[in-house]
Symmetry: C2
Amino acid sequence: MDSMDGFDVMNPQCPSRVVLQRLGDKWTPLVFQSLKDGTRRFGEIRSDIGAVTPKVLTQTLRTLERDGLITRTIYPEVPPRVEYALTRLGSSLLGPLDAVREWAEANAGEVLASRDAFDDAL
Amino acid sequence: MDSMDGFDVMNPQCPSRVVLQRLGDKWTPLVFQSLKDGTRRFGEIRSDIGAVTPKVLTQTLRTLERDGLITRTIYPEVPPRVEYALTRLGSSLLGPLDAVREWAEANAGEVLASRDAFDDAL
DNA sequence: CGGCATCCGGACCGATACTG
DNA sequence: CAGTATCGGTCCGGATGCCG
């Protein structure tokens, strides 16, 4: 569509906006954090993250697989084993996502304090 | 103060998880993009982003103000004028958010292609 | 101009139970 | 172990209309 080669999130019609939103959903950053050191199994991701139900985790993983960010490998064994790993594309997202995560951890205190101050002023 | 860095997104109870989620909501990255070059008025942000209703934009801006990421300055004039700007804390988030935005713009094509391929396989 | 009030639909999320 | 099925709730986000 665009004669230009680039996507622009400031354009309401640009697909990059949809992509950007996906990256910001509730569990995506946490899944990436779990997978950043290599292949992990479903149960491992689940316990890494904690407090996520199987259904929602499956949904998240399926979406990421569909978007080409992770791979899903099934081993036909008993008991079944399924392993997840970042694709090359997914790995390239690790840096950006990590930057946001680190900011959140580093500044959560300040945000919370600001929130309290704001609420007290009401 | 905690001797350790206290906050860890992989801990379900950690407040940083809430903060991380806020950063990923639908309009936050776009507001930051609009404010990155300096102070802007409500209408300017609105037209920068496009396709966002006043109500939702107001909600987003209030939340960001409450979290200490932007300032809101009202000028008692007729017609009224309200200006928004990033705080120091907000500015420190500009880099991380920009990294994700750039990734989205650079790789949206690949994500879309992967999505199509995945859907065709069904 | 920059909101706020109201209503509303649907996406997202979760608890629980069950299965190959 | 790694999901699927079902049901239900919340809440985000949008449309519309009014106000100082």
